[in-house]
Amino acid sequence: MAYTYGNTQNAAERIKEISGVNPLKCMKCGKCSATCPAFNEMDIKPHQFVTYVQNGDIEALAQSKSLWKCLSCFACVERCPRDVKPGKLIDAARQLVVRERGQNYLTADEIPELLDEETPQQLLVSAFRRYRR
């Protein structure tokens, strides 16, 4: 069954589950956005990502350019003082979108067609690791 991202608390719960992140731990210091090399490319900034998940506004995240602009460098994951790790939330939101397309699993055959300039390769690696059957 397809997700409606608008049906939000459910999708937000999925993001928390996939990422293992509790966004309520965030103290809004902004260190993630301070450290992000792709900051200027993003429409929703890393520190805002946390609030969007808190508020269950997942549709906006799914539509966000940021999903595909995040380099998965994990600088924010490394440096977050509160263990919130916005990079993991972004990663989880990306996977939610990919899963929607790939019906919850990923086969090796599908990877070549997913390879394009926009998609960070790390996303494919981590998606494959978790969703192969």
Partner: protein, 662 residues
């Protein structure tokens, strides 16, 4: 058979909202030995206590069970009430149906059942209670203060002013502590040394105060009112009675390249040194690790130039054993190491410094003689960035979970002082929250912004990148503008979190005083007994208990002193009669109890026993009741069941377990 009265407290709605107290009365009334049961809204009130007293008289009660709050709150109250009615106070037991029951449960039926079970256990224990008589112990009228910073000095002065002897033990060569390293103090900007040194001088000159510097507490035994402490007076290599403090030895010492601890390693000192100009005592110490004479046997320059003949290379550590009635812990703090914060480039650039290092740079006696300059090239910085919360409020393993409390204020102070002295310098402070609770504190911070033009930006710094030209690139968030900032800085100052002094763990173990997961000493009660350790006779002064600034430290130091004075003013203390004793017929002399006893209360005697007609000499454990604190470690360790605790006997505890499991 006992005649037991059960008294169930409502505690307003604290208990009654979750526990059906009437039902508890009804159920406990049927228990063996119970001849009276009633409930009341506030058992601890005068009227509630009167109910207990009346019931003791009218029903000839021999034992009491009060179902109420934790015994830590009101056991003493109810024991006193029972004593007033002529009952031995140790015939009173508390069933804790508040903290252990009503506060932690929601379901009334289950909570009521649990309250009944807890009451039943207490009743089973009272059935086996016997009257106990407390003993007495003498109080040594002398206090020990561990740590010679502002906290220790203030506690010592206050205790000494009340007329009691005080010894201060300070690990470093001089008293003064962290405060002696500070330049100015917020929110009045008075010079730290100017207000601290009079206190240091007063402590040194006080006839009741004796200061052991360059000394450490090595061993503590005994108990409240009667501690015995071994103090290691480390070899100073200088005879304190001969030295005149002229300083020629330090001047002439050829080994000059040793990191100066007082200046946070920002410059060097000689191997024989006085840590700072106002040091007390004004007597140098030889750092044997770096001294050429101690390393190679050749040198001896200091000895040759010393006109007083005070240098003594043969001096040995000395152990001083002294008795104390009370101990004040004032071990203070340090800033956390920043080696795990690579993103701030602290270990890559000399111009990324901690705030404490900035204090030394700003200080006239510091490594730059008070001139604000970059340590890399000596140039005046034009752009300075302050980073708040470095390692504070972190839930990762790199930092500390708590707010260090003093950083917002000292950063505002630094920013203001720099803008005042060097008005062409731009100062930017990156903050998450500015926390300024305290008298005149927020006004102080607003002055930095409004009168001194300090630029406060809400957002954390992500990284500091040293540039080839020697400047620092700072990448940070401006959360209110929703922007990422890249700015050039000549100097970055990190407000590193503070943590308790590393030695506190060792000292707490010696004192059997408890510490929390952050190594802060724990209070006996977070609100109502904030300057006492749960271990009797141990008092807490300064940052060893939690982050605090100078006025709070001085206030707490005074409070700790008052508590110590209250103890020293007594000639005798009532001892807890709930101590251990061994059954000589069961004891096999295995020594296991003596090994686990934290108070050294157990010794062994060769004793003649009569075991069912067989007379023989056996090795038997004997408990010194004055030393025993009734912790019960020996009773659970004893393999033969010979050790038992009065008031908490094995039989009583098993009876409680049986009552719960019934």
């Amino acid at each position: 058979m006992q005649r037991i009265g059960v008294f169930v407290c409502h505690c307003g709605t604290n208990i009654a909202a979750t526990v059906d107290v009437k039902k508890v009365v009804e159920m406990t009334a049927k228990e063996p030995g119970v001849v009276h049961a009633e409930d009341y809204q506030y058992m601890c009130s005068e009227a509630g206590q009167a109910k207990i007293i009346n019931a003791i008289h009218e029903k000839n009660l021999t034992g009491i069970v009060v179902c109420s709050c934790s015994p830590r709150m009101h056991e003493a109250t109810f024991r006193k009430a029972a004593q007033k009615a002529g009952l031995n106070p140790y015939m009173v037991e508390i069933a804790n149906i508040r903290e252990h029951c009503s506060w932690i449960h929601k379901d009334m039926e289950e909570a009521t059942l649990k309250a009944v079970i807890l009451a039943r256990a207490a009743i089973a224990k009272v059935n086996l209670d016997a009257p106990l008589q407390p003993g007495e112990s003498l109080v040594t009228k002398r206090a020990l203060v561990i740590g010679g910073g502002i906290a220790g000095i203030q506690s010592a002065l206050d205790i000494a002013e009340a007329g009691y002897e005080v010894d201060i033990v300070e690990k470093l060569p001089s008293i003064g502590g962290r405060m002696s390293q500070l330049d100015k103090t917020f929110p009045t900007l008075d010079c730290s040394a100017c207000i601290l040194t009079p206190k240091m001088v007063e402590a040194a000159a006080h006839e009741k105060i004796n200061i052991y510097t360059y000394s450490e507490v090595e061993k503590v035994s005994g108990f409240v009112g009667d501690f015995t402490v071994d103090i290691r007076k480390k070899a100073r290599s200088v005879d304190m009675s001969k030295c005149t403090g002229c300083g020629v030895c330090s001047e002439k010492c050829p080994s000059k390249k040793n990191p100066n601890e007082f200046n946070r390693g920002l410059n060097n000192r000689s191997a024989i040194y006085i840590p700072f100009a106002q040091a007390i005592p004004n007597v140098p110490v030889i750092d044997r690790e770096h001294c050429t004479k101690f390393k190679t046997g050749k040198c001896g320059v200091c000895s040759k130039v010393c006109a007083a003949g005070a240098i003594d290379y043969e001096q040995k550590d000395e152990i001083i054993t002294q008795k104390y009635g009370a101990i004040v812990v004032a071990t203070g703090f340090d800033v956390i190491p920043l080696d795990k914060y690579d993103e701030y480039a602290y270990s890559q650039s000399k111009d990324v410094i901690t705030s404490l290092e900035l204090e030394r740079i700003m200080n006239a006696a510091g490594p730059t003689k008070g001139h604000l300059e970059r340590l890399s090239d000596g140039k005046a910085p034009k752009n300075i960035v302050f980073v708040q919360c470095v390692g504070s409020r972190c839930s990762d393993e790199r930092g500390k979970s708590y707010c260090s409390k003093i950083c917002c204020m000292y950063t505002a102070k630094h920013a203001m002082l720099i803008r005042d002295k060097y008005p062409d310098t731009n100062v930017t402070v990156f903050y998450i929250d500015v926390r300024t609770p305290g008298k005149n504190f927020d006004e102080f911070y607003r002055r930095a912004v409004e009168d001194y033009g300090v630029n406060y930006v809400k957002g954390q710094v992500g990284k500091v990148i040293p540039q080839p030209d020697g400047t620092l690139m700072v990448q940070a968030s401006d959360l209110l503008e929703n922007k990422q900032i890249l700015m050039e800085a000549d100097m970055v100052v990190l407000a590193a979190a503070i943590e308790p002094n590393k030695d506190v763990r060792k000292i707490a173990t010696m004192l059997t005083a408890s510490i929390d997961t952050n190594n802060f000493l724990t209070e006996a009660h977070a609100k109502l007994r904030p300057v006492e350790s749960p271990t009797a006779g141990i008092f807490l002064s300064g940052v060893c208990q939690g982050p605090k600034d100078i006025p709070e430290t001085v206030a707490q130091a005074g409070a700790a002193a008052v508590k110590a004075i209250g103890l020293l003013a007594k000639d005798k203390l009532t001892t807890n009669p709930c101590t251990a004793h061994s059954d000589e017929l069961l004891c096999n002399g295995c020594s296991q109890c003596a090994n686990v006893c934290p108070y050294g209360a157990i010794s062994y005697e060769e004793k003649q026993v009569n075991d069912h007609g067989i007379r023989e000499t056996r090795r038997i454990a004997v408990v010194n009741n004055a030393l025993c604190q009734g912790c019960g470690a020996c009773t659970v360790t004893c393999p033969s069941g010979a050790m038992d605790l009065q008031g908490f006997s094995n039989r009583q505890i098993l009876a409680e377990v049986d009552a719960i499991c019934r």
